[in-house]
């Protein structure tokens, strides 16, 4: 630490830090435009000029490192004059029409010019004007307002790792532009709106809909991935106007993914359901809550008495709140129903009894960037958990080695040291090969039956390389992504990941889908365990089995099986046959209207209080920002009142906090045996029976839940892959199919007609088909063999 003086006061400062950092820390204001603590230093705006004793000229505070004894004056006459001159220069070309600018009221330039600008401009020359770019549905541009601070360009280069904007031309002709016609496609693009100090880049959906001073902000937690990014919901009276990041250095830093930023646009979608609906004599009618709840309670009771609790399944979205998961399972279990689950896309849960209390990342999210070696198994991390992807990119910039096994060669914004791109049914063999290669050098004590399983395996060259990489480095992490978890042999993959972890002393973590998988496990929204891992008298059916089992009644919380189920065709067939289906949903959709008998309108994420538990196990509670529209009510309240309606004991919660605290006590008291490090893993090293073309399914970034599916701006974004059957050139040639042709995808009795897209990134012999789209809702299992014909 060294001592410096700012405006006559003495401060301790880190040697090498910049004047502006020290001043920011102690709260001395220095105006700035180009400087941002998360970006490299450009020092191109000169707004931060300050006087430094003995320096002949004013110095930029953002680019001048402190030295011992340095004396800095931020508002001496010299400093003030310099700051005012810079301001005058900046305003030469900037329009002076704040009242018609969307940024007005929250503009850094406006604020700074209030303090440092002149009342009257000395310039009479014409101002330059710049043509606007169309950056797509998320970001609006007014490039005449740009002051060329290059924050947006530096963000893309340094943080996003994918440049779509640049500064073309020179001098006064310099422009920030994509140069060619191009819609921004990066999944974190919206951050340049926050970074832009002026009104050049603004939010397109929010544009001109409110003024900053009309808004109140409410703290909330983003509801789409297992990071739990912190957000502010900005509302005007009872209307959500936008969502912006709430800084949290340990989670999302200052950033937010576009999914978390724009999904709020679904809140006011025309599909919102405002009143409970019930189907009487095959005719839908709107009704009041009392009638609807009585209808639902009666319907469930009837099935219960007639067929017993095994004929009812209750399935919730992994992004439902912990309170909702807890109340749903409590309600069902009190009725004797054990088929409760939240694992929407997973099919192989055969190892569930060995599972830990909840699937965890194994480390803290902020520790991701400190890893030395990371093995990604079946993970499209940048799209699945954009913030985790960003942290991994940071790790690689520090020198971390990232290895990946995947079925699609997803483009990533970091370096992959090694990769294996192969059909999903090969994952098992590749992982076994890596384990075998590691076992040759490892001193770890392995049960003989595991070693026996590996006996026949001959590691290939690339598997040896993976093993070598995993043996080096200190902090090592193995992460299972969506394709690994939704894989038909997920249990084997988990066992192998554990095995590789033991052999290489790496931690093993899970990047779970949805915002609250951890919370759902803890709350007991799994078919084999109650809250906090409590044993159940008997296991129920898991989601995928249950949805395909033609049960007599279903209770759906926040899911639309035609888009969300791992086998939509089977799920919809079951639902169509069922005698009684209830859905709690914020939206009225064609699917729900077709197979349900009652739809209870529930709150969207901005309208309910609740708790999300992220992948590191952090509980984050939040309040409702606004009231739900019409008669829609928070899900937890609906479940609570339904409990009353069914005359269940202990359903008298007044607040969601009471629900949470009841669970919290159980979780804190839980003595849960550590999971067996080596579940049986019978399938290890055995090639699953698979014939023909293998399907790979992903629920793409903007198809993963009902919220994002209802968000028009996200749907229109260039980040969204078109719905099609993707395959590599060789397979297309073998099948004698042309790029762009309409083809039929057949899975038993399920089929769909889709355009074909030739894509070199798809593993040989496989087709990649997005789920969660209307065009693919008629298809069957997410993985396994398919037939493709003309």
């Amino acid at each position: 630490m060294i001592e410096i003086e700012i405006d006559g006061k003495t401060f301790q400062a880190e040697p090498g830090s910049m004047i502006i950092e020290v001043a920011d820390k102690v709260g001395i204001p220095i105006p700035r435009f180009c400087y941002h603590k998360k970006l490299s230093i450009a020092a191109n705006c000169r707004m931060c000029l300050v006087e430094v004793e003995k320096a002949p000229k004013p110095m930029p505070a953002c680019a001048t490192p402190v030295t011992p004894g340095m004396k800095i004056l931020t508002c001496s006459q010299k400093a003030r004059e310099a700051q005012k001159s810079v301001m005058e220069f900046l305003l030469i070309n900037h329009p002076l029409d704040c009242p018609i600018c969307d940024q007005g009221g929250e503009c850094e330039l406006q604020d700074v010019s209030l303090g440092y600008g002149k009342g009257i401009s000395r310039f009479t020359e014409g101002k330059r004007s710049v043509k606007d770019d169309d950056l797509g549905p998320l970001i609006a541009t007014e490039m005449t307002r740009c002051i060329q601070c290059t924050r947006c360009v530096r963000f893309e280069q340094e943080v996003a790792g994918f440049r779509e904007l640049g500064a073309t031309g020179r001098g006064e002709n310099m422009e920030i532009t994509t140069f060619i016609k191009h819609s921004i496609s990066h999944e974190m693009s919206g951050n340049i709106i926050d970074l832009c100090p002026v009104g050049a880049l603004t939010s397109k959906p929010y544009r001109f809909s409110a003024r900053a001073w009309e808004l109140d902000q409410v703290e909330a937690v983003a509801p789409h991935d297992c990071i739990g990014s912190n957000i502010y919901v900005h509302k005007r009276v009872q209307e959500v106007m936008r969502v912006v990041p709430r800084e949290n250095e340990t989670l999302n830093e200052t950033w937010l993914s576009d999914r978390d930023r724009y999904a709020y646009t679904a809140v006011n979608s025309p599909a919102r359901l405002h009143k409970p609906m019930i189907k009487v004599n095959n005719v839908w009618q709107e009704t009041d809550w009392a009638t609807a709840l009585e209808f639902v309670a009666d319907g469930l009771q009837k099935v219960l008495t007639q067929y017993g609790p095994k004929q009812i399944g209750a399935f919730a979205a992994p992004s439902a709140t912990t309170e909702e998961h807890y109340l749903l399972q409590k309600l069902m279990r009190t009725l004797g129903i054990n088929s409760v689950d939240h694992r929407l896309h997973q099919t192989d849960v055969s190892d569930q009894k060995y599972a830990p209390l909840y699937p965890s990342l194994g480390i803290k999210i902020e520790e991701l960037e400190l890893q030395d070696t990371i093995l990604l198994i079946g993970s499209n991390i940048q799209r699945e958990q954009p913030i985790a992807g960003h942290r991994i990119r940071k790790a690689t910039l520090r020198g971390a080695q990232v290895l990946s096994i995947n079925a699609v060669d997803y483009p990533v914004n970091f370096n992959l040291a090694e990769k294996i791109i192969t059909a999903p049914d090969h994952f098992n063999l590749n992982l076994a090969g890596i384990a075998k290669a590691l076992s040759a050098q490892s001193k770890a004590d392995l049960p003989t039956q595991i070693l026996d399983l590996l006996k026949e395996i001959q590691p290939s060259a690339i598997e040896q390389k993976f093993a070598a990489q995993l043996s080096s480095g200190e902090k090592k992490l193995i992460l299972l992504g969506a394709v690994a978890q939704n894989h038909p042999e997920a249990a084997t993959l988990r066992a192998l990941a554990q095995l590789i972890g033991t052999l290489s002393s790496a931690k093993v973590g899970c990047l779970t889908e949805g915002a609250n998988s951890a919370g759902a496990w803890l709350a007991g929204a799994v078919p084999h365990r109650g809250p906090a891992g409590a044993a159940l008298p008997e296991s129920g059916l898991a989601m995928n089995t249950g949805l395909g089992a033609s049960l007599r009644a279903y209770f759906l919380l926040g899911i639309e099986p035609e888009f969300d189920a791992a086998n939509p065709a089977a799920a919809v067939a079951s639902l169509n046959k069922a005698e009684f289906v209830v859905a709690c949903s914020p939206f009225k959709t064609d699917g729900l209207l077709q197979y349900t008998h009652a739809i209870l309108p529930i709150a969207a994420f901005t309208e309910t209080s609740g708790t999300y538990v992220n992948a590191e196990g952090r509980w984050q509670s939040f309040n409702a920002a606004v009231a739900a529209p019409g008669e829609a009510r928070p899900g937890w309240k609906v479940l609570r009142v339904l409990g009353n309606q069914l005359n269940l004991a202990d359903f008298d919660y007044v607040t969601s906090e009471q629900v949470r605290d009841e669970l919290r006590v159980l979780v804190d008291a839980a003595v849960f045996p550590l999971p067996n490090p080596h579940p049986k893993g019978d399938g290890i090293g055995k090639r699953a029976e698979g014939k023909g073309i293998m399907r790979i399914t992903e629920w793409p970034i903007y198809s993963i839940d009902n919220m994002v599916r209802q968000s028009q701006p996200l749907q229109d974004s260039a980040t969204n892959e078109p719905t099609a059957v993707y395959m590599n050139e060789k397979l297309a040639k073998d099948l004698q199919l042309q790029d762009g042709a309409m083809v039929k995808v057949i899975q038993g009795s399920a089929q769909a007609e889709l355009p074909l897209m030739v894509d070199a990134r798809i593993a040989a012999g496989c087709v990649w088909i997005p789920a969660g789209r209307p065009e693919t809702a008629t298809l069957g299992a997410a993985f396994g063999s398919v037939e493709i014909i003309m």
Binding site: T168, I180, N720
Partner: protein, 174 residues
């Protein structure tokens, strides 16, 4: 052929057609001058080579191909190509006349030269004569201030210019 949206609406380039073998070889000579992880440093030379091979101007496709070859973002190549006045993004005449209008040249009377050139050629800055012979350009300081005013044509600097000297030079060109 369409790729994942990560490529956005970027067209895919057929490298063999756009950057033929001999051009790539010329670029390679520059690439080896830099450390392997700084391949991008060859961008100025690569653009010059590609431009010379395309009648003196760059197409979007050529810039994209250079980007791909040097493993850099396309926009980064556009930035370079629009920053430096020696690159042209529209078809140009056989001879590019780049007249410096920066400070020193301005003090030494480049205005006069500009007026003369515009009159003689019948074009404004940034335009090409109807016969496709000349393109007149306004460029920034050529680093030859000591002999201002200066014009840059191909590999040559013509210094200490007067209208008469300009006529002489232009008359001598085919």
């Amino acid at each position: 052929m369409l790729f994942f949206a990560r490529r956005g609406d970027f067209e895919i380039i057929n490298m063999t057609n756009v950057l033929p073998e001999n051009i790539r070889q010329q670029i390679d000579e520059w690439i080896v001058k830099y450390p392997p992880e700084q391949r991008q440093s060859a961008v100025l030379s690569a653009l010059t080579i590609v431009q010379n091979n395309n009648n003196g101007w760059l197409t979007e496709e050529l810039m994209d191909a250079v980007a791909e070859y040097l493993n850099m973002p396309r926009i980064a190549v556009y930035e370079v190509a629009t920053f430096y006045t020696m690159y042209d993004l529209k078809p140009v005449g056989r001879h590019k006349i780049g007249l410096c209008t920066n400070v020193s040249c301005m003090l030494m009377g480049c205005e006069k030269i500009a007026k003369h050139l515009k009159k003689r050629l019948g074009v404004e800055f940034g335009e090409t004569t109807a016969d496709g012979k000349f393109t007149l350009k306004e460029v920034e300081c050529l680093g030859a201030c000591a002999s201002a005013p200066v014009v840059h044509m191909g590999d040559h600097y013509y210094e200490n210019l007067t209208p008469e000297k300009i006529d002489e030079i232009l008359d001598g060109l085919k």
